[in-house]
């Protein structure tokens, strides 16, 4: 069950990032015919990023401590010291932008040019943050893997 929660975190994150890219494209091509679709995509972003935050947060709060100790003892301690520390706080920026997006997307973007610009910028920022956070997750994962590999290698030397 714990592994399911762990892997649902990046899965929801990727889906939320893709949904933000969807909003980005819809806002670029804003019309009356895609108004509802744009809002639904923006609500999907909020839901998926919220789920990614809940799953990742649950793992971080209840299960990450042993992994942190492992990473810090391994060859890539910066995977926690810099990357995880940054990621755990950067995620809140993503969450705030994801909550804000439907507020903007609810406007009639085809005639409301200022709101359209903001929708494009917010969706674009969510995509960039989402990609950065996914990359950070991969580095943290490798930090744990490298630490385990080092421990196994030390064990086999004895």
């Amino acid at each position: 069950m714990n592994e399911l929660i762990l892997f649902s975190h990046p899965t929801f994150g990727v889906l939320g990032t893709m949904a933000a890219l969807w909003v980005f494209v819809e806002a670029l091509n804003a019309s009356d015919s895609n108004r509802v679709r744009t809002l639904l995509a923006a609500l999907a972003v909020t839901t998926l990023i919220g789920l990614a935050c809940a799953a990742g947060g649950y793992w971080y709060v209840f299960h990450y401590a042993p992994e942190k100790t492992l990473i810090l003892s391994g060859p890539w301690p910066f995977a926690h010291g810099i990357v995880m520390e940054t990621k755990e706080h950067l995620f809140f920026v993503l969450l705030i932008l994801a909550v804000y997006l439907p507020i903007v997307a609810a406007r009639r973007l085809v005639v409301d040019r200022p709101a359209r610009i903001v929708a494009i910028v917010v969706a674009g920022l969510i995509v960039l943050h989402g990609l950065a956070i996914e990359g950070a997750g991969a580095i943290i994962n490798h930090g744990a893997k490298a630490a385990l590999a080092q421990a196994v290698a030390k064990g086999s030397d004895r």
Binding site: V93, Y100, V118, L125
Partner: protein, 97 residues
């Protein structure tokens, strides 16, 4: 010109992104605050997230009620600047401190 919730919550998002970075710095540098935040909800990260969301919602509601208005470009540029400054400052903090 943007008005209503879009302008208000846009400005609130800018403020919250910068607040998020500032709170990360302060709690990392000042252990008693980190400990207090951990005691409040069981984990400092949960308290940090709740503080961010609360600030975003409360500031957004207050600015909406006050009839806050702003240009689309100022909200858009403000969000980009806050994201760049907030994100890079977070990473640089953990690189150097």
């Amino acid at each position: 010109m943007l008005e209503g919730a879009v302008a208000a919550f846009g400005a609130s998002a800018i403020a919250t992104i910068l607040f998020n970075t500032a709170l990360a710095w302060i709690k990392d540098a000042f252990d008693p605050l980190n400990d207090l935040m951990a005691r409040l909800t069981g984990h400092h990260w949960i308290t940090h997230g709740l503080a961010d969301v609360a600030l975003f919602l409360v500031l957004g509601i207050i600015l909406t009620r006050q009839g806050y208005r702003a240009s689309g470009s100022s909200i858009a540029l403000g969000l980009v600047a806050a994201a760049v400054i907030g994100g890079s400052s977070l990473m640089l903090w953990f690189v150097f401190f």
